[in-house]
Symmetry: C2
Subunit: 671 residues, 2 copies
């Protein structure tokens, strides 16, 4: 499950928390609150002085991305739709490369069962998953125009504005606004509404009064079939398609655990008012893995392969004590219990390798553990891969141990048991609680209510049953609460017999736990763009040139071919090279535009092409590496094999420049 | 644009036809009708005697596909949703392989500009494209229960049932039912309704009376944003996302024509009552190409590469004369004008190569030209790649020259000119019509209506203008119809001056034509499954074994590795081989189940794995080819390179069996 529903779950959890025994938890909760407060405040107000520089970087990146059609605001000629973007040609290729690597790194490497389910989803599935009820944001409406706003956004903007611009703000008020920013996510509709009223917040565009906040479901709703009676939604995540297929997939896998299923596909979230440009959009690509595992054995045979990895981790304790993320060895994090289990740890390691292979900067990547109040109540542990970009630390991958929650929810709703079996090599003797109510005595005592009492007796836990047995044996009768009747009844000794009996069992039947790494592909790609972007002066130093330092794995095009000047001989040589590149499966373009070679280099640097071949002779040519701007001279026949080895990682630029003569000639970087 | 909207366009066209000069077209229409009738009748009643065999084949294929999880009815544990299917693990890999090959064969090979646009589409875009108005099917409702049916389906079922089962049917009636089946697609709502009444057709499930037919829009509707005021639809095709981006893509391509854009993605069609299993579904993957070309030059530089291809073509003339498709050379089809132009012909050839590379049987693939009444009025020519399967000839790829229609529609609606420019090397003198109304005289004559008359005068075509000029010169005045006023007015000589003037032009501005190959990926894959499926007896001849003869390009897994018996030595050798296969990028599985090797072969044959490696020694092993069942013996180190060359097409099984010793040993095909 991706970021989208976290807000909603968090709110649901906040409500649930109230029910938890307040005294025992009080001290811990206080600490959590303080730690969470510090973190959220920092996120809300930005990194202070760095804010302007970040904004400037973002503008430079986004300008380049839009100018080179990495992205295009969708339906632009019709003035677009907020929160919808197209990937243009280079962006589309980057996306295809990222997904293809994802499939290789996760699906093929681990022999996962990949599935491909529809986006249109019937209501019953999303009722079972909780999305129909809880996948909501709180909204307020301009009472005159009907324009809608996210309630928390308005309160956040108000507090930030006051803190940043009101120089006469008393300390007391400032502290209050800071506190609100810190607990914003946990406020109920009533609390948000009260604050909006108290501060006199009005509609930003019209200054009209606002409605009370109310929940707005973020799923795009539609109707399946022609009758209008069958409600459907565009899926908010791909995971449910996997859960509902658990039974078939388990059989397909020879009824063995663990196994993982995976899915890549579109997901939808009808944002109230999309912000944060490319990071919060109404339609996005998710890549999700559901790794099903025996809850009693979460070890992972390949954990050793990632145990020595060391990277920035931000466990709960560091967040609560106000410290920063720190370098930790994954193996230690698991052995010390910081990370709940090996399987979860294995995926954290694999996600780290995935992201850094794409070109995400290790220094701006951390794994942050969810605080207790952030986590769904059923989750055993949860870590987010967060990437730092100009918008702050962005959750790009969620890696959660969701225990048996999802499979149980669909088992309950569908009536189809989504369970696994462990066959014992020889039958095991187990003690089982046996409760035998006496129908006759219950009937005499409770008449029409007999069935409810009987069911309640049969549903007792072991503990309840033995407490009852003890009371019945000492006092002969006991009070018993029957929830379905809404009252206590008196149970006497002859109405029920309670005992433990020995039984032979041939197998264990259980609901598997699921460890779920969920990737927001668009967010990863956007952060990758920021991390890959830099500028450098042109040769004449008159302008700054933009460069994306994509690794070949990600680069939209691996190689460009430039005939130095327009002439038949060079054009023919360029065609020979292009043909060899095609045969080798290397994406490339020939650029014969009559502009200087320096300008042509700059043009391909700007879309991150790692290698450029300049044809300045019919027999041998130069290959230029994008970031070092170094050039080597190779024979025409060698171009394709050299570029292939470079792009497929079999050799590095250092190898190549050691092997072939360097070229410093008249055509190098003329601008 | 894919199959989906053809029905609707066809109906729209039928209405339009009425306006066409009836006399001149009468003879031609008669012929068209006859030809179309024959074709449709054949489709509607099936191939007669072959029907049962086809049904049996289909059952065998579909059973295998569902049992091996190529497909899974979506949301099965909730009793599913008609017309929605998941791809399970092997199906998902086949789909990924097909799409990856599509990208290589079309996008990379032709340097197309691939884009990736959202599924959620605002209404304005689909109003411009005509989908809001015309993307409909005619529906009837059970008047008591509200159950919906496709009106044409009910009439079709009625006629077929009568023809097949009513032995006492008079010849006259039989002819009438046959005629109805032939013209079913062209019937209006009124005509359909009249027939339903005449024949007393009732709701099939309840026998209740039915409503009159009325159009039901097949798009899934939703609402964008929280206000409920902004209507959106799930796109019915991917093409519109490309058209609205034409301007940016044209600039990206250096303002040069021709160029092609491409898109792979989900499309949606809210079928009234889905039939035909996997062929007509509510959500499907399309892969579409929009090749933009100067309407004055539709030659294609690479046409020579496909001109010598020879395959089954079914041009209009053969259909009209009742003949069958016949083998034609593509080069001749274009030079004789059977195919409208080289660009269209080039894509027909490329589609042929694409489909046959996947494993589509050449003998069950034909290119059928649209009849005049099937084609949208704006289309210059249109050919469907039809594949024969148990459902008959199925349109899997549409290849249409749609002229300038789509770009013009979006230019009109958005006000943004989607045009191309041809800069002249030197300015050209052209004659241009100049209409100069006299505002003063128009004002005096028409007062408040002056503006409408003026605009109507300026909007005259060259022909209208010169007829007016002639009348004004001979009679001094003329009647002139002003549509916006809804009446004729009298125009006198002094009110307008009409002349031709010579002008120098520096460029030509025009709307490009678009040639659109549109691939229904799911339909292609389903037909591929049928074409690849066969059965053969097990060794003991006690049962029939299922095989999919997928080429390695398509096969979900390229290779399986079987340790012959459970022992450490063989297991270790299998791991060494698996590691080498992973490094070589060959997807594979190790199957260590303790069942006979013959059963394990049968199991992988059934999901179409082309090569199986059996480990019966620690130093050398056998490789088995799926269809011939031949085995060769190779050293362990050679397994990965040999399988890689086989799967990547660098060597054939014939090469391999010539080079390595054949193996006929105890482990071959034990069942």
């Amino acid at each position: 499950m991706a970021a989208p529903s976290e807000d909603a779950l968090r709110r649901a959890l906040a409500a649930r928390k109230a029910a938890v025994d307040a005294q025992a938890e009080a001290l811990k909760a206080l600490k959590v609150e303080a730690g969470a407060a510090a973190r959220r405040l920092q996120q809300a107000v930005g990194a202070g002085a760095g804010g302007a520089a970040r904004e400037e970087l973002r503008q430079a990146v986004v300008n380049t991305l839009e100018r080179k059609l990495f992205y295009i605001p969708s339906f632009k000629i019709y003035r677009g739709v907020a929160g919808l973007y197209d990937y243009g040609p280079p962006g589309c290729r980057v996306k295809a490369n990222v997904l293809s690597f994802w499939r290789q790194h996760f699906v093929l490497e681990e022999n996962m069962l990949e599935v491909d389910c529809p986006c249109v989803t019937p209501e019953v599935v999303l009722k079972a998953s909780g999305h129909v009820e809880k996948f909501t944001d709180l909204m307020v409406k301009d009472e005159k125009t009907g324009t809608c706003y996210r309630a928390d956004h308005l309160l956040k903007d108000f507090c930030k504005e006051k803190l940043e611009k009101d120089l006469a703000l008393p300390q007391e008020k400032a502290d209050e606004f800071k506190r609100i920013l810190a607990i914003l996510d946990d406020l109920s509709a009533e609390e948000l509404g009260a604050k909006i009223k108290e501060y006199g917040i009005v509609a930003p565009d019209t200054k009209n009064p606002l409605s009370d906040p109310y929940p707005f479901n973020l799923m795009f709703q539609t109707s399946i079939g022609p009758t209008g009676l069958s409600v459907g939604y565009m899926r908010p995540e791909t995971a449910q398609g996997i859960f509902v297929n658990f039974k078939d997939l388990y059989y397909y896998n020879g009824q063995k655990l663990p196994f993982a299923a995976a899915q890549i596909g579109q997901a939808f979230r009808n944002e109230i008012s999309p912000r944060q440009g490319l990071l919060r959009v109404r339609e996005f690509t998710l890549a999700e893995i559901e790794h099903f595992v025996d809850p009693e054995d979460k070890s992972h045979p390949k954990f050793v392969d990632v145990a020595d990895l060391e990277f920035l981790m931000f466990p709960r304790e560091l967040q609560l004590s106000g410290e920063s993320a720190k370098l930790m060895k994954l193996g230690e994090a698991v052995s010390k219990g910081t990370v709940n289990n090996e399987t979860l740890g294995y995926f954290i390691g694999r996600v780290y390798l995935f992201l850094t292979s794409l070109g995400i900067d290790k220094g701006r990547l951390r794994f942050r553990q969810h605080l207790p109040n952030e986590m769904a109540h059923y989750a055993a542990d949860c870590w987010d891969a967060e990437i730092e970009c100009s918008y702050g630390w962005i959750e790009c991958v969620g890696i959660a141990d969701r225990s048996a929650y999802d499979l149980k929810a669909h088992t309950d709703k569908s009536g189809v048991p989504l369970v696994a079996h462990e066959k014992f090599s020889k039958p095991r003797e187990v003690e089982k609680l046996v409760i035998v109510p006496s129908k006759k005595d219950l009937g005499l005592a409770f008449k029409g209510n007999q069935k409810m009492v009987l069911e309640a007796l049969e549903a007792m836990s072991e503990k309840e049953a033995f407490e009852m047995k003890a009371e019945l044996e000492t006092k002969g009768e006991t009070n018993f609460k029957v929830c379905t009747l809404g009252k206590d009844v008196v149970i006497t000794k002859k109405m029920v017999s309670i005992s433990m009996e020995k039984k032979l069992e041939h197998q264990r039947v259980f609901t598997p736990s699921v460890v779920e790494p969920s990737f927001g592909i668009g967010r990863i790609i956007y952060c990758l763009f920021e991390h890959s972007f830099y500028t450098r002066p042109s040769k004449s130093e008159e302008e700054q040139l933009n460069v994306f330092r994509f690794p070949p794995l990600v680069a939209p095009i691996k190689c460009t071919v430039f005939p130095l000047v327009k002439n038949q001989e060079f054009d023919d040589a360029a065609k020979v090279i292009a043909k060899a590149l095609t045969t080798a499966g290397i994406s490339h373009i020939i650029d014969t535009t009559a502009i200087s070679i320096g300008r042509r280099y700059a043009r391909t640097d700007e879309i991150g092409v790692p290698f450029a071949v300049t044809v300045d002779s019919a027999t041998n040519v130069t290959i230029r590496e994008r970031d070092s701007k170094e050039q080597v001279r190779v024979d025409i026949d060698e171009v394709a094999p050299v570029v292939k080895q470079l792009t497929e990682g079999q050799s590095t630029w250092t190898d190549v420049s050691a092997k072939y003569p360097a070229h410093v000639g008249p055509q190098s970087e003329q601008e």
